[in-house]
Symmetry: C2
Subunit: 254 residues, 2 copies
Amino acid sequence: MSEKHLQTGDALPPYPGKLRLFAMRFCPYAERSVLVLNAKNIPYETVFINLDHKPDWIFYYSPKGTVPALEYEAGKGIFDSNIINFYLDEKYPEPPLQSADPLRRAQDKMLVENFSGAQAAYYTAAFNSQALQSSHLETYQKGLDLLQKELETRGTTYLNGNEPGLIDYTIWPFLERFQALPLLGKTDFAIDKSKYAVLVTYIEAMKNVPAVKSYYLPPETHAKFTESRSKGDPDYNMLDTSAVCCMRPRKKKE
Amino acid sequence: MSEKHLQTGDALPPYPGKLRLFAMRFCPYAERSVLVLNAKNIPYETVFINLDHKPDWIFYYSPKGTVPALEYEAGKGIFDSNIINFYLDEKYPEPPLQSADPLRRAQDKMLVENFSGAQAAYYTAAFNSQALQSSHLETYQKGLDLLQKELETRGTTYLNGNEPGLIDYTIWPFLERFQALPLLGKTDFAIDKSKYAVLVTYIEAMKNVPAVKSYYLPPETHAKFTESRSKGDPDYNMLDTSAVCCMRPRKKKE
């Protein structure tokens, strides 16, 4: 475990003899894999890295230097949040985080794909305001509409069913960050509580899922990091990551 | 089955009561799903569409109007070649087209991801020569190096093992098209038979896989279509698709 985000020149800590996840504390893609590791109660450690001054060794695990990357045995890595998460769900089958139905699995993947436009619009609104157009807001709201409609159609507490699954842990990191947009002056991007009542209920339920709760950061914290990054000087170490990050395995529903 | 590529204004043929794949005869992504349907000997029909003048109904199956899209029951679709192919492999498990080992499955997905740069370089070389730089050739050759190294490491006839699998059917449509590049004047993109001896042996083996053979088009044909598309007037209907496309299920190793 790293208490600070490691950067160029910092040594790679010794392999801990268990899974190790390379992440960045504010990265939504890395969060996807943190949540799945937490949900499965798999022992792991996290190494946070500075994405502006990457240590050389990250490229050994992830050819483009992206996070997350999972060191599954000493010196061997898997990159890409989706590849990691499907691997974890297949390798550590309890609890299963996907439907056994091939069609539902395909529908979940299509939902992630169809939601990706809203993610891109979020990034523009958060980090590239000058490029922001009304079409971004439309795409963002289409994403919210899509999720709400899907929750209504499925009629379950979570997208996965009555327990959260891969689909929820894949979408959630973005919903967590969407709520920082109004604090960044993007009031049009606030999630309307009456129009999106079903989605808001889902968001509140997700916040209380143990795997999510232990890694959750409030909108104010996401907004603060986003502002530092927009200014060109991301404050990677603004949190004491030894305290906020769930490094110890937790029991489900503890 | 459509004998010509259907376009704006053309009616959607009646649902045939079996799987239906929306495709474009020269699209490598659509070919990925054609090959998996063939390999599994699943009865299906193909509807080819004109990607420059798309019929309205394609958007019902594929939100961005991309192919392939699979109509798995009347009026209901799955889009994206990878989502379709994993669905088919889970829904129709014989023969299985993936390793049972979660790590190998993750490695296959990473290989596809790492090869994607070479695909992008191919598109630039084939369709956007003016933008072609030496870096594209480097990226292309890195992709060839990667495949050859992977074949050497795995030591099997196919990337999947001694029988071809999803990974082979996912990569193949690009290898098929790469061989058209020298005919388009991109002689630097020719696959050197001595440097890439292992890869060339693999390419020859793949050409003889029944699922591939029945849909294979020679480099000359790909070059001809590419030239028509580069001129802004893609000749979608240059082939009699009722003859070249395998619409009837075939026995494995017939």
